[in-house]
């Protein structure tokens, strides 16, 4: 156990002669730093947190229940709306699970297109994190840069599927529409524009002394704690645990791409932040490789228009922007899934807050919460 200089014990009342008491502090659900509707019930003693109780469910839409009465084609639309910052990943996880139970083979070109879209969406999603985390800590400018670049990714998505946030682009069997030479040129243009921007981000925020002080020794999660609480994605890798579904259980041909998995050293807020910045670089590499191996061919498998899955159960998971997103699907042979469960990475990542916030200062709550990068749409489902 390392000694955290930011932790301190409350002043004892016996020696000072003052009467002290703990205070219950409500943070949220309408608080700009909670990135949605999350309520944190904080019991504080002076500046130090004694107990933290995250309260969720404000955005619960009962997606899993809804899906039991929707066809598989309609299911993609609902899956989109879980983690709305990286809807492509949700579509992908849902479709992979449906295809696995169906035993469908996805054409090569569709697989490459899926990789391109998922990685571009990862960049867009991490850019939101980069921008909003800066704001959480008190740096407003990076947000403007991040959203300028994100806009370009969203324009690319709009070009290929017409939507900017909830795409419904990846469908069971393949993808909805093909891309043309113009799109590829625009995508390469974006990648060339984006690569030097990443260096700019490092000078702007990553190695900014104030930012370093606010994040480098704060919210440390040891590898053991991270695994015990089931963290996944950049939050797990920032603690130095090398687990990336893209390499552990490759899907969509990820084993053919050359990329490294970003690992942190200490598991601090800064490590979690920097893992995401490095991941953006790796995503650029993957998209470049994917664009170069895009061969002509079908984009959709020959499947019936109305899908009816054989009775059985399947589980498939992917490395979404925020972690290990799994879809467990049970079919009884009907038009709708009998039961469908999302292993939502944000939901599981958020639970650790009740352990790691204890002993921290109130001012660090935002830094720790922001570094976990949650999307409440997925936490509450």
């Amino acid at each position: 156990m390392s000694i955290n200089p930011m932790n301190s014990t409350p002043i004892r009342s016996e020696t000072s002669g003052l009467k002290t008491d703990t205070l219950f502090l409500n943070m949220g659900p309408q608080h700009p730093s909670t990135h949605g509707v999350l309520r944190l019930g904080l019991t504080i003693s002076g500046e130090v947190i004694v107990e933290a109780m995250p309260d969720i469910g404000y955005l619960h839409r009962g997606v899993e229940k809804l899906l039991e009465t929707r066809t598989y084609a309609q299911g993609v639309v609902l899956a989109d709306r879980l983690d709305y910052c990286s809807a492509m990943s949700n579509d992908l996880a849902f479709c992979l699970s449906v295809e696995k139970l169906l035993g469908a083979q996805v054409p090569k070109r569709a697989q490459v297109l899926r990789v391109i879209m998922a990685e571009l969406n990862r960049i867009a999603s991490h850019l939101i994190f980069f921008g909003t985390y800066g704001i959480d800590i008190g740096a407003f400018t990076p947000f403007l840069y991040a959203f300028r670049e994100r806009e370009m990714v969203l324009d690319l998505f709009e070009m290929c599927c017409g939507a900017r946030l909830t795409y419904n682009y990846i469908r069971p069997g393949g993808v909805a529409s093909d891309i043309n030479a113009d799109w590829i040129a625009r995508c390469r243009e974006f990648l060339d524009f984006f690569k030097p921007r990443l260096d700019e981000y490092d000078t702007l925020l990553s190695f900014n002394p104030i930012f370093l002080v606010r994040t480098q020794t704060v919210g440390i999660i040891t590898p053991k704690t991270a695994v015990a609480w089931g963290l996944s994605g950049p939050n797990l890798r920032a603690s130095g645990v090398n687990y990336d579904v893209r390499q552990a259980e490759p899907y969509c041909g990820y084993e053919q791409y050359d990329f490294t998995v970003a690992l942190g050293k200490t598991g601090s807020c800064w490590d979690r932040y920097f893992c995401r910045v490095v991941e953006m670089r790796q995503s650029v590499r993957i998209v470049e490789q994917a664009l170069s191996r895009l061969a002509s061919g079908e984009i959709m498998a020959k499947l019936p228009k109305v899908l009816r899955l054989p009775a059985g159960e399947a589980y498939s998971h992917i490395e979404a922007s925020r972690g290990d997103l799994g879809v467990y699907i049970v079919s009884d042979g009907g038009l709708a899934p009998y039961r469908l469960h999302f292993r939502a990475p944000c939901f599981i990542n958020l639970a650790i807050l009740q352990e790691i916030l204890v002993g921290k200062k109130v001012a660090d709550v935002i830094a720790v919460l922001g570094s976990l990068d949650i999307v409440l749409g997925e936490v509450d489902r």
């Binding site: 469910g57 159960e313 467990y328 009907g334 038009l335 509450d380």
Partner: protein
């Protein structure tokens, strides 16, 4: 260590465990015979086989399909053909599916080194669903067990804070149970 080895290790060391008749596709799936075997199996997985990553806790209610009246419009195989008969939304129970009044609980454990995954399942009665909590072994079970309690009503004995988590406080019942009655509203399909 291979999938078969993991499966045989668990079957040999956990009393009453058997390979599940209907496994999760492509993954080793073990069916436990009674709730008291769960901590034994989880401890074996964690301490001896290296499955220290609790990935998922969830459940399935096997009572029967949700009634889709009001939810799902009739689907025809050829959308623009006038006379095409609508497909039945839910099939009659076939030989593969046995609807029965049980809750089927599911745990998924991962090994981050060998990248293997194993599923444990356990049937409990719908009337009094109760199983031991795994929060002592895996803190990750904390919220996922609360979720399963909230949506299915499964009581995890030994859980330090088994309260509702996703649904609002005023909501009574457990919405993912299959006997949940749908209240018709203006958003229903015709």
């Amino acid at each position: 260590m291979t999938r078969e080895k993991v499966l045989s290790d668990i079957l040999a060391q956990v009393p009453g465990a058997s390979a599940a008749a209907a496994p999760v596709k492509d993954y080793p799936t073990v069916r436990l015979s009674q709730p008291s075997d769960l901590p034994t199996a989880a401890r074996l997985l964690k301490d001896e086989l290296g499955f220290d990553y609790l990935e998922m806790v969830t459940a399935v209610d096997w009572l029967g399909p949700t009634k889709t009246e009001g939810f799902l419009p009739a689907v025809t195989p050829i959308p623009f053909a006038a006379k095409a008969p609508a497909l039945p939304v839910t099939p009659a129970a076939g030989p593969d599916i046995a609807y029965r009044p049980v809750l089927d609980l599911l745990w998924s454990f991962g090994n981050l080194k060998t990248h293997l995954k194993v599923f444990l399942r356990l049937e409990v009665s719908r009337e009094k669903p109760e199983v031991p909590s795994l929060t002592g072994l895996f803190p990750a079970a904390d919220w996922q067990e609360r979720e399963t309690f909230d949506l299915f009503g499964v009581r995890f004995s030994g859980h330090p804070n088994l309260t509702k988590i996703l649904t609002p406080d005023f909501l009574q019942g457990h919405p993912l149970l299959k006997d949940y009655v749908h209240q018709p509203d203006e958003f229903d399909a015709d």
